[in-house]
């Protein structure tokens, strides 16, 4: 056998496990999701083909669109908060005394060592409506006891704070790494022109961080549309559905009510929403160039 044939054979041998795995566990499920969405199926009895009835049903499902709306609200509040605060702290971190930078980084990054369920547990304890530390602090300040996770108006914000807390340090580190890559002569040249502080940030740092910012924006937006863990543990979508986001709604339809066909139709729609959103974002950011 010549080298070329051997090379081709080895290459496909090396690729085989992933080709198989990605086919069975990603590609087939993707196609299967659409197939199942055309059926009425409760996971136990045989599937009944019903065409696009599930899609007609979901178009009129108020609870579903409300969950989509809530996911949007979550995203619109969470993403700018995360990107803004992690960029802010990255810039600050880059300007503190070098002696303390390691310590500061460790402090900010520590929540990253906590899992999402553990973060939910800690904050449920802190948010406790009767004796939680946050309510004790509010009490000291003369503010009345708050329900937090038990309140329809506060639960979503309370959850956003938890997710922000766990992700801030990690995203700050991505920004910080990008800031450190900017050559210092840029700032030195700007200094000669009289541009320091805010102006240097606005004219040098921010434009050069564009690729990093876009990366974080897109990844975080896609992640926000899939938010689940903390909500499932902390509120299960309550109180009065005020934290019922799309993925939780799909999960409940599929695994609590066993409406597998209907839940699959919802998942297909969620995919389209995420897909369009990512494309729009990519478009938006590249248009500005």
């Amino acid at each position: 056998m010549n080298f070329k044939r051997k090379e081709t054979l080895t290459a496909y041998g090396f690729l085989l496990p992933n080709l198989l795995g990605l086919t069975v566990f990603v590609f087939v499920p993707m196609v299967y999701a659409f197939y199942v969405s055309l059926h009425d199926w409760n996971a136990l009895s045989p599937k009944v083909f019903i065409g696009f009835d599930n899609y007609k049903k979901l178009a009129e499902d108020k609870d579903w669109w409300q969950s989509v709306y809530r996911t949007f609200i979550f995203t619109i509040i969470y993403v700018p908060l995360l990107v803004g605060s992690s960029l802010f702290f990255a810039v600050v971190m880059n300007n503190i005394k070098k002696k303390f930078e390691g310590l500061a980084r460790t402090l900010f990054l520590l929540p990253f060592a906590i899992t999402s369920v553990i973060s939910a547990v800690i904050w449920m304890f802190l948010y406790d409506p009767r004796n939680g530390f946050i309510n004790q602090l509010l009490d000291l300040l003369g503010i009345p006891t708050q329900q937090f996770l038990g309140s329809t108006s506060q639960a979503m914000i309370a959850i956003i704070i938890v997710i922000l807390w766990i992700n801030l340090g990690y995203n700050m580190m991505i920004f910080l790494a990008a800031i450190k890559e900017i050559p210092t002569d840029y700032y030195e040249a700007a200094q000669i022109d009289g541009a320091t502080g805010w102006r240097a940030f606005w004219n040098i740092t921010l434009p050069l961080l564009r690729p990093t910012t876009i990366f974080i924006l897109i990844v975080t937006t896609i992640g926000s549309f899939q938010v689940f863990d903390q909500i499932m543990v902390m509120t299960k979508g309550g109180p009065a559905n005020s934290t019922m986001v799309s993925v939780l709604y799909i999960y409940k339809q599929a695994f609590e009510f066993l409406n597998m066909g209907y839940a699959s139709a919802l998942a297909v729609v969620l995919f389209l929403i995420i897909f369009v959103l990512s494309l729009t974002q990519l478009r938006m950011y590249s248009d500005k160039d």
Binding site: K6, V26, V28, P111, F112, I174, F228
Partner: protein, 268 residues
Amino acid sequence: MTKNKRLLTIFTIACGILIVLPIFFLVISSFKAPEEVFKPNLNITKLTMENFEAVMEKNILRAIWNSLIVSTSVTVIALLFHSMSGYALSRLNFPGKNLVFGWMISTLMVPFTVIMIPLYMVTKNLGMANSYLGLIVPMIFNAYGIFLFRQFYKDFPKELEEAAYMEGLSIARTFFRIVLPLSKPMMIPLTIGFFTANWNNYLWPLIINQKEELWVVQVALANIVGGGYETSWSIVLAAALLCAVPTFIVFFSMQKYLVDGIKTSGIK
């Protein structure tokens, strides 16, 4: 300027301490007696181990063991498969290369939550539900690792492989004997990434496994919290602290690499 710098440093450290405070409460409250848990004091003489004894009855050690098995297996197998694929896609020439790469990368567009229902059915039909296999196998395959290994091998010095071919080693042997042992700079951040991601995984184990003896930590912990008010907060927090120990170990022993890993995933 220096005064500004000092203020900025104090401000940042203060924010950092505020961020760590919830973890501090987790640790301290785990050692408090149930009736003391909501008191914001630090009465060290009253600290107790009884919460951890109560946690032992809740089978949390078994869940930690399950999570260790699942996370370690996924990480080891994924690193092997992904490095092989990444190597083939960057260093070997074969017909259909771009097609295979494009197809693999396109699977990155499919979010897990979108395919979780059919993935559950596929895994169940393969007879893997309620078993370690079902927890492990579907989590191995993702194009993310393949992509990063491909980038890594692009910058890998060619001379080593050429020398190995001159010695008469086959492509496969060259990879396993020479290239793979030198792939540590990519292996370490991905080990951290895969291990923590799988340790953190809650949704998939929740769906695919109903057996209590196969509960992973996140599911077991969520069940203790969901148990209502009969479980004291001090016991819940002690359980949470135990579940956090492995990721804390990874975090503190690998922090340097973690930062490198963040750089690779963030910029390139």
